[in-house]
Point group: D2
Chain length 393, copies 4
């Protein structure tokens, strides 16, 4: 395109229909979702407009402050009231994992759309119950596996689907962090429920690997069997709620390899003990003709290798995903100007609203997210039993 | 900090005072500024809250659409009306450069605060007039040299000011783009006024080098003299407004070296003919004890070299500027999650509003931005006359 | 050091004793070893000087040409003659793996020192026989796991041994190539014996993972148990020797995870189907206080992360291992000037000769290399039986 | 090529003619040249074979030690004897710059070939005298601008000559070091003659920029005019020979911009005060259709951007220059295995010997190297006089 740096045209919103949101939970994910609802119509031409109708949490004072900050019209302290309110169209579940099922079932029973934080559930059994309920209700639904909508990851999907990679041999992903290395860090409670299996279901498997697995299933299809190893490096920590030193119930690290249905091999690893990595989610796909890599720490770049390039200048290309012909980017700035983490959520809302317009599902649906749950469960039990596990299809 | 990945605490806004904004112009910068006003109170605890009171442009239909998208309460098609409106506190100037002076003078005369896009003016003479007017009026003012507020650049400032680098030997910056290489690209008009000296004042010098110079003056102090070379690679282009092939009036490329008052040497380059670079603004500072580098294409990273590190493991550190103890970042997400381009504008608004609270100026003020103008003028005339030029201090 | 770029002082060789080498095999490794013998005294101050006494291969004409090129004094076509020659002190085994044992045993029986290419043997049983023979003979011996002597890897060893990393949590390594993706590539014969299990013992496990395992055992101690997966992507290839399409007997890809005796987790992968990677041997070690990474494609660099660095400028350091205080580098050029692949072999010869002087063993000895063989065997059988395997200590 | 990782075929040397070398000087460059002579026939198929006939230096004991190390057959302490010896074919000049002219003239007068270290001379006048003498004598000659023969740089030449870049807009190079920052470093004498203008002619201009200029002239053609700035940061240092504090006579840093005859702009910088850079020689060429970059710190890589690539996957390619179809690399190892600094000298000797075989000149000849001298002189005088200088063509 000749005039590539002329600013992309601002989108225009022709007709607006309100979509009234009731959000339950207001922690870290409450912020990312609220931001997404606030921003989506500024950048994407859509018929629907989210309205921040209500936010719910147990602490009345804190939830009021949160509502003020983001412009929620009302607050609730009992989530059951939110799912029953007539003026609310969609329930957004941002609570710890152990509440996902109950809320989703109630929301579905009240005919509400549901946007649920990942992972879908504590385990496969819960997830199956949720899928059944949501599909019985026939309401639009999605699970916030936001990294699919990093433009570079969406571009990866587009490249794979185009057939440019040919037969896939390897899929590789990891999610490495280092924030729990200190033995002084407590577990549990509002800030640290991710370290408590009673609230989270599992450790890095559900928190981090679930992201890697969701992206993998999307990019490379089904996983058929897995063999896994987990470890808990720090065996005991003080629990925030009890004040007592208690056994740590989560997996601190988890590694597994697997077969994909397409014949390729998978290798996945996650840990919170990789000193030097804050949130290093990387993925790599090796195909017969081309390969690609991505890294959350520089999420606006895709690494691309095309074996079809002339031999003397063949090499990995560092693609700065900021051009108007790359996924989502014509709605943002001009080439060379990067976007960040929170945009992945804005993209998911944009796609959800567009899907509403078109009467289509917004991937990943509860049913799709259930597949990730199955793999997570197989991984956990494989590690426990030190044996391969097959994924029921 | 033990619990580094516990989400940073959401800021709370205690008391809110409205700051009514009237924005003139609605192009690319209109979007970045509107976004900044919309977002700032979601992430920064401030007493002031910008209200999008009016936006102004000549095309009534388009400006209406823009106002709808961003939630401006009203539109105007004559900027003089905006600067006179009683319900407006601050004028934001986003027009092409040739209107900056007239609007700023009128705004000042009406006692409005002024936030002016960079560069301040077409030339030093205009800039001096603007500084005089704004200071006579005694109104808060700032110029949108947004890159100062990329967290990595602000961190650079903090490191330099701490004395960690010691005596500075070299300051090096460039801003390389490649979007005007095609001879088929026209010049002038609403979309391409940056290619027309009548609207822009100069080419890459005012558009790109001005950013580099502003940051340099901020980080490394005054420039005393310069020697420059400019080039116009494509001599004629069709003009959008006249439809005629006309002589290109801007500099396509500009390079200069200089002395800083602190004894260090400066080297600056900008071009729109560097194939492969979309918006590569880089800077590097070499000091006696340490050096640092930054690159807009990965704006969330700072490269840092500390000669005091143990010799066997000494090397450039790639610092992912996303921790709560790094500038602005405690207001965003958690470590490892990057922000992007538009955040630099949000930070400038946050700082402007904080400065209002505290009754302090928000850097760069008109007076400070005038220094950049002086260097730009010296550069242009040095190139024309093929001789060194001294900067009047 | 103030004068860091003053060239490192040229080493001087005081007294010279000849060490007469008889090399068996003359392929790729024949070249790397011949080069190492030719170069070592130019750069390292040593009392011993290798003399290229004889080279042996079945093709008389080709071995003569090779001898001329490298200055071997004589040629042989029967390796048994070489191991029996009185004028030879040390036998260098560069043949395909299936000849290692027989030659090593004969060499030991004749009282020759032995330098054996890796992997030590076709399997653990062979390896044990070799260790017994060489130790019974009491002759100096070493196995060419050359990557230990990449200066950055040796530096990694030094850093780990210093305790700077603290408790180790993770060890991660892979060796990725892409040269066998084409189904048209034949297997077997002089050029492609690595694709034939009858000559090589295994595929990527013995060829590539053996390197990763050797380095891991050296850096991180013993492996206690493993769980592995292997794959052969292309099931049949034409055999160079028979001209027939035959079943492919090797593993094209191999992945395993494991526990180290020190409590850390290991993750290893190798493949020749990772499009875009020519010879990507990477390793990473995550410790409580620090982490390090290395990559064969840029072998002169070590990545180093020190959590003890001040928070605001903490990041991965890219250490250019070319300074005089870094391993082996004072013997080469000046800081900033990199060395390459072949130097790892020169370093091993230098260390072997120095060890001779001092009457010490040169690591890895046959006994040490046997440990790698045990892990390889456990990996192959774990993959076959889809179960964990314990490594006999 | 299907079998890309089958080791490149070892070269064979059919007929050998000795080329007797007499080397004058034995410092850092003495080592790189001696190594090149020792190695060239091991890797390159050539009819000529360098023989290390004599090495000359004033210190009899040290030169004897050096000769022993490298296998020189004899030593001399008076360079005049070397240039007169009948058994010597070629004189290699490795002395400080202030001796180049006298030795070259004497060598030419004796009908010897001459291989002269860079820069050719102390200044243009000397250089012209040398060119006249060498051309009058009609002897083969070359100047050791070794970086041309880094495979990635030679590949750059091949790409530019192929026309793939189209019209060139920008040529950019720098050479940054940091080893003279300490004020305690003395100047002058055997180890530090590069800091003494009486021995070196100039500072970074002749030592470092000369490399950048030579490569630039080779890749991008003639320079027509220059404007330069130099600086001496540390004004006085102890002189090694006198023991006195003396004025520093060299340029510590030098920057210039220029026009090339082909219409492109050049920008060059060199310094020994860029903390964190050991020997960072980088170059970048921006053309209409493609761009390339190179960096001595990772000399085995070329960065390549091709605007013709499909938009969504366009990006800078990091080309690992280690394949058999890339310059010089079929003579080394297998893809993915890098070579280092000293190989650039081996390549120059290989090319010199091949040129001898073919009766052709080996670039850069004295005449070609004189062009670099002219630019250096113009740069120095431009900086002194603060004005543009034209290069006489």
């Amino acid at each position: 395109m000749v005039v590539a740096r002329i600013p992309f045209i601002s989108p225009m919103n022709v007709i607006m229909k309100n979509l009234n949101i009731g959000m339950i939970g207001y922690g870290f994910m409450g912020r990312t979702h609220s931001n997404a609802y606030s921003q989506v119509n500024h950048f994407f031409p859509l018929k629907y407009k989210p309205v921040l109708k209500a936010v719910c949490a147990r602490d009345a004072e804190k939830v009021r402050s949160f509502a003020d900050q983001w412009g929620y019209e009302s607050v609730e302290t009992d989530w059951r009231k939110v799912v029953e309110r007539k003026d609310i169209d969609a329930i957004d579940i941002c609570t710890p994992n152990n509440l996902h099922k109950e809320i989703a079932l109630a929301a579905a029973a009240n005919g509400k759309m549901v946007l649920c934080e990942k992972p879908l559930s504590m385990n496969t059994a819960e997830g199956e119950e949720m899928v059944a309920a949501i599909e019985r209700a026939g309401v639009p639904n999605t699970v916030w596996y936001n990294y699919r909508r990093a433009p570079a990851v969406t571009l990866a999907k587009q490249l794979i689907d185009s057939g440019k990679l040919g037969r896939i041999f390897h899929y590789r992903a990891n999610f490495l962090q280092d924030w729990t290395i200190s033995a002084d860090l407590p577990q549990g409670g509002a800030a640290l429920w991710r370290l408590d299996a009673a609230a989270a279901g599992s450790g890095v498997t559900g928190d981090l690997l679930a992201h890697c697995i969701d992206t993998a299933l999307w990019l490379n299809g089904s996983i058929t069997d897995v063999s896994a190893m987990t470890e808990t490096f720090i065996k005991e920590r003080k629990h925030t709620l009890t004040g007592q030193i208690e056994k740590v119930s989560i997996d601190d690290a988890c590694t597994f390899f697997c077969h994909f249905k397409n014949g390729s091999l998978g290798l996945f690893e996650s840990t919170r003990y990789a000193r030097g990595h804050k949130a290093l989610y990387t993925l790599e796909v090796n195909g017969e003709h081309a390969s690609l890599k991505w890294d959350l720490h520089d999420l606006h770049r895709l690494q691309w290798f095309d074996h079809g390039d002339e031999g003397i200048v063949r090499g990995w290309r560092s693609v700065h995903v900021s051009d108007g012909d790359q996924p989502y980017m014509k709605n943002w700035w001009v080439p060379g100007l990067q976007i960040g983490y929170e945009h992945t959520f804005i993209h998911q809302v944009a796609d959800f609203l567009k899907a509403l317009e078109e009467g289509k599902p917004c991937s990943p649906t509860f049913r799709e997210a259930l597949e990730t749950q199955k793999v997570c469960d197989a991984v956990i039990s494989s590690a426990k039993e030190r044996t391969w596990k097959t994924i029921a299809s």
